[in-house]
């Protein structure tokens, strides 16, 4: 595979719908202290009876942004019936496993334990206290759900990622692609294929 130059510069914005802009502004601007940096007030247009909307943005550091759409006249049912689990964008029945519901989330980076604990303090003083603080041994994270039900994580690295971990990740992905190209991929098949790639590619 040819190495291509890597030109992108992080997240411009990630966008979600909200049906509760007041709570969303309280959570991101007033509780967390993420500045409002941009907004678009737009009359609906287009072929699908697009409602009038406000698209508003909060700075999440590094000039990256989280953005929301508020559609006038809309209610959560616009996305389908309210479910037992999920958030403003995606709803799930009670039988959908929690690991799946939680799989899609946004994690925002901080540089230190001091900064992580400062955001913990802000959240704990609000209506959206931290639900979990977990040290995953190499990273430490705090979690809550924002007013829209979106899983929200702030995380710090306990140590820098080493170059060998990047190399290892590439072996993992090559092994994964080989295994998913075959029948019935399993974790065991992945580890076996990865062992072969280590022997093939890594000098003794």
């Amino acid at each position: 595979m040819t190495e291509q130059d890597h030109r992108v510069r992080g997240v411009d914005h990630v966008a979600f719908p909200t049906f509760d802009p007041a709570a969303t502004v309280r959570f991101y601007r007033d509780v967390l202290g993420f500045p409002v940096v941009h907004s678009i007030c737009a009359a609906g247009w287009g072929p699908e009876n697009h409602p009038d909307f406000i698209h508003f943005f909060f700075d999440i550091g590094n000039d990256d942004r989280i953005a929301f759409f508020y559609y006038f006249g809309s209610s959560p049912e616009v996305g389908g019936p309210v479910g037992e689990k999920g958030d403003a964008y995606a709803r799930f029945g009670a039988d959908v496993p929690e690991y799946f519901v939680r799989s899609r989330h946004l994690a925002i980076h901080v540089d230190s334990e001091h900064d992580l604990l400062e955001y913990r303090r802000r959240l704990d003083a609000s209506s959206w206290p931290v639900e979990m603080q977990i040290q995953h041994e190499t990273i430490e994270s705090i979690y809550t759900h924002d007013p829209n039900g979106y899983m929200f994580e702030i995380t710090r690295a306990m140590r820098p990622v080493t170059p060998q971990e990047d190399d290892d990740a590439n072996l993992t992905i090559d092994a994964l692609l080989d295994v998913v190209a075959g029948p019935e991929p399993t974790f065991g098949k992945l580890l076996a294929r990865k062992a072969e790639l280590i022997v093939e590619r890594v000098p003794v």
Partner: protein
């Protein structure tokens, strides 16, 4: 022969240290990986490593086709010859 590869990062060191307490087990190097080998099974006691969940369940980089993981739970990691 069973072979287990473990990436050389600080959190994984205790996994390797515990593995070699068994005299039947040898540890070599292949680049950034520890290569843990034995003619018979490789058994690593989780509590002896001091690893918690995140590291314990993600410490294996590869298992040679001559071996197969037969146990990987809160008590132990066991790789048996196929």
């Amino acid at each position: 022969m069973t072979t287990l590869f473990v990436l050389d990062v600080p959190e994984n060191i205790s996994v390797v240290t515990v593995a070699v307490e068994d005299p039947a087990v040898t540890v070599g190097r292949r680049g950034h990986y520890h290569e843990i080998s034995a003619d018979g099974p490789i058994v690593i006691d989780r509590r002896a490593t001091g690893c918690r969940h995140a590291v314990w369940y993600s410490c294996i980089a590869g298992v040679g086709r001559d071996g197969r993981i037969t146990q990987h739970d809160k008590n132990a990691l066991r790789v048996d010859p196929v």
